[in-house]
């Protein structure tokens, strides 16, 4: 479990302990973490920035992360390096009470006070499932395009996440991430100098806890001993993801405005699909050379024209995938393969070229298995389904039998859908147990 940035004296650095603690989680992980924090190393421990004096200055959109995180030299968003997903259930049946709402709002307000809305502090959102809204007699307003998660390919058999709520925490600071989680789950009384007089677990129970990471160097550092990644450690040091390429190029991401619900009681919200995909990269790295990986990740055109170098940093702020969409069938016939990105892009553009989905995926080593947590934001949930159907590429298997259901068909051979869940991310003023008609009476 040694990280490459361990201190030279043979012990684990404070950063190592913290990163490991996020993955381990629970009180064991946290106590190790707190020991490190309280150990008084002093130097190199910058204070975690606190929330604003005036909480009304916080964004109304819970998913307004893009302006508050790092960007690389090309303007590509760099998601927070460490992230946690807590799947929460309300005990019993029927709608929650006003008291429960007040408790949730108090806990989240303490979080607002404790942590700056940034990658150096803590980014967060609390989303609710369609199943949560089924607790009420009234239905969600008709125009709202959200529904329970369902199977999205003819070859997957996922478990569906039907818990009531999903808390998403993200930070570049593993100590902030852990302390915030611990305060919200009642395992510590204060975090970053703020006393928590309420916890989410006063209302919810934690049904599942999933963690992850993203950023150049982290997948390479974590690949050792991980099930799903070849033992010879093929993940390049510069790659933010296990599959060896950059993703989420600025010009291939939906602007936050594009994913924002415009009208109705949840205006200012968005829909959020979260999948978990197990990764099996033996054949990705073992049977395929770099050119074939470029074909399957981007497109045969990318490989043919040498558009991708290394992890793809040379692509700067755009993957060039739009140039490859029109001739996808000809490429399938000529090369016997199609690319993941080019398939998905077919359904991921407005007529004016605007991208529909804002993808915020990150890697995981939970349970010692390489997987990908795949949150995607979109104005309408069915937009996600359409992109996934395009990514399935089943139409292309009819163009040539060389493209099969899951072989030579983008990256489908290497990913196995384990979970799918659909959620509504309400605007900030409705984040505490909202009603279907867009109220949160306390």
């Amino acid at each position: 479990m040694r990280e490459p940035d361990a201190t030279g004296d043979g012990g684990r650095s404070r950063r190592d302990v913290l990163k490991a603690a996020v993955a381990v989680g629970g009180s064991v992980g946290l106590s190790a973490c707190l020991d490190a924090i309280d150990g008084g190393e002093g130097s190199g421990t910058e204070a975690v920035p606190s929330g604003p004096e005036d909480l009304s200055t916080l964004p109304t959109r819970q998913f307004a992360w893009g302006e508050h995180i790092r960007r690389d030299e090309f303007g590509n968003e760099q998601l927070p390096a460490h992230q946690t997903l807590l799947y929460l259930t309300l005990p019993g049946e029927g709608p929650p009470t006003a008291d429960q709402r007040a408790t949730v709002e108090t806990a989240l307000t303490r979080l607002d006070e404790a942590y700056a809305w940034s990658h150096e502090g803590l980014l967060r959102s609390l989303a609710y499932s369609p199943e949560y809204f089924d607790r009420y007699e009234t239905a969600l307003p008709e125009p709202l395009d959200i529904y329970p998660a369902r199977r999205l390919s003819p070859f997957e058999t996922p478990e569906f996440d039907r818990q009531d709520a999903l808390l998403h925490l993200a930070s570049d600071r593993p100590d902030a991430l852990l302390a915030a989680e611990q305060a919200l789950t009642g395992e510590r009384a204060s975090a970053n100098g703020v006393d928590f007089d309420a916890a989410l677990t006063d209302v919810f129970t934690v049904d599942d806890r999933r963690t992850g990471f993203i950023g150049a160097g982290l997948p390479a550092a974590k690949q050792g001993g991980l099930e799903g990644v070849p033992e010879d450690g093929p993940v390049p040091d510069g790659s933010p993801l296990f599959m060896g390429f950059k993703a989420g190029f600025a010009r291939n991401q939906a602007p936050e405005d594009r994913v924002t619900i415009q009208d109705g009681p949840f205006a200012g919200g968005t829909t959020k699909h979260v999948a978990n995909l197990r990764q099996r990269l033996e054949d990705w790295y073992g049977e395929q050379d770099f050119t074939q990986r470029v074909m399957e990740m981007f497109s045969p055109m990318h490989a043919e024209n040498d558009w991708v170098e290394g992890v793809g940093a040379n692509l700067e702020d755009g993957s060039r995938v739009d140039e490859t969409v029109a001739t996808i069938e000809e490429q399938a016939t000529e090369f016997g393969r199609v690319g993941h990105a080019q398939k998905a892009a077919r359904a991921n553009r407005d007529p004016d070229g605007t991208v529909k989905l804002n993808r915020r995926h990150f890697e995981s080593a939970d349970d010692g298995i390489a997987s990908l947590h795949f949150p995607s934001l979109q104005r309408e949930m069915s937009e996600f389904d359409a992109v996934r159907e395009a990514m399935n590429g089943q139409d292309l298997t009819e163009i040539t039998p060389a493209v099969r259901q899951r072989v030579n068909n983008g990256i489908l051979e290497y990913i196995f859908v384990r979970h799918r869940g659909n959620f509504l991310v309400p605007p900030r003023d409705l984040r505490a147990l909202p009603t279907p008609d867009g109220d949160a009476p306390q």
């Binding site: 070859f155 058999t157 049977e287 016939t333 393969r337 040539t400 039998p401 060389a402 072989v407 030579n408």
Partner: protein, 352 residues
């Protein structure tokens, strides 16, 4: 039972055959004899023959599954016209094979995708999408080499994908959904090493194939060309494959042909043992009485005439000329003896 009889696959279920073969077989190198240097561009008898052992079977959804294993061995994958050898890796312990069929008609289903998840004591050992594959004794199946975690009890979960291609006859509207089943697998290296294995230098390279192995489950043999439903119209050959043509007086259920017409079906099969050759592109041009029609024939699983490529046409009078082209050969991986056949497949013609 004589060991030779099992190797040639005469009428015995695998588990029984395995027990019969376990005694007195010597430990051997897993690499097998080298690939022949002078392979014909046709079906040939392999350098060695292996038995296999039945692991178990299960039903789930609309499907029946069987899981078998043998020694890990080399095979060849096919993408377009490119054939790539997959050697045995040091970590490989077994070659796992799965067959999926329709329990109602006993028809092997070749156009599903399939993945296999292997766990031991709740711990993940492996998970892979495995290859559609052709072998002489089994015909069409799914297979891949896997490394295991020593002797012991494994659970193998086989997941089949819904079929995307058109289905006809009683298959119309079926097999659209995925399903999965878990089959227990008690593995030991000594059991594996008891599976029959014999080098066959005297026959290797001969233009013939091993006999189909009887495993107590459906295999992928197609009906004889002259016993196809409808009006069998003859056969032609390309790339050592036999293309059998039949016409039906009306398109079967599942074919989108509002004007009716005659249905032209072409089924591709191996020589010697009529194993189905699926997942290939077939185009046809029909010339009759000065008129000409042509186009692609969609891949079509069907319970009556078997898997074929077919399309509705106006009429197919006697004496019509049919040209068949194969722009993409069967996109299935190959066990030894099939890797040079069914790859280069020039256009071929027959008079109906």
């Amino acid at each position: 039972m004589r060991r030779r009889a099992f190797l040639s696959g005469v009428g015995t279920a695998g588990a029984l055959a395995l027990a019969g073969c376990r005694e007195g077989v010597e430990t051997r190198s897993l690499s097998g004899p080298p690939v022949l240097s002078n392979r014909p561009d046709a079906v040939y008898f392999p350098t060695h023959v292996e038995g296999m052992a039945m692991t178990g079977r299960a039903d789930a959804g609309e499907y029946a599954f069987a899981l078998m294993y043998s020694y890990p061995h080399r095979f060849w994958t096919v993408t377009g016209g490119e054939v790539t050898r997959t050697p045995v890796e040091e970590a490989d312990d077994v070659h796992l094979m799965a067959t999926v069929w329709d329990p109602e008609t006993g028809t092997v289903l070749p156009e599903t995708g399939l993945d296999v998840e292997i766990s031991k004591g709740g711990e993940l050992v492996s998970q892979e999408v495995i290859y559609p594959m052709l072998s002489q004794p089994m015909g069409f199946h799914y297979g891949a080499n896997f490394g295991l975690d020593g002797d012991g009890e494994y659970e193998v979960t086989v997941s089949v994908g819904g079929t995307n291609t058109r289905r006809t006859g009683s298959f119309d509207g079926r097999f659209g959904d995925p399903a999965r089943a878990t089959i227990g697998f008690e593995y030991s290296q000594s059991d594996r090493d008891g599976i029959a294995f014999e080098e066959t230098p005297d026959r290797a390279g001969d233009p013939t194939a091993r006999e189909p192995m009887e495993m107590g489950m459906p295999n992928s043999v197609l009906p004889p060309a002259d016993e196809l439903p409808g009006d069998p119209r003859g056969t032609t050959e390309t790339g050592d494959a036999v293309l059998a043509v039949t016409t039906l007086a009306a398109p079967p259920a599942g074919v989108d042909a509002p004007d009716g017409g005659t249905y032209l079906a072409v089924s591709a099969r191996t020589p010697y043992n009529r194993m189905v050759l699926p997942a290939m592109a077939v185009e046809a041009t029909l010339t009759a009485e000065g008129t000409l029609c042509g186009g692609a024939l969609p891949r079509t699983p069907d319970p009556d005439g078997g898997y074929h490529s077919g399309a509705a046409v106006d009429a197919v009078p006697a004496g019509a000329d049919l040209e068949l082209r194969v722009p993409t050969p069967p996109q299935v991986a190959r066990h030894e003896g099939y890797e040079t056949a069914f790859v280069g497949m020039p256009p071929t013609e027959l008079t109906l």
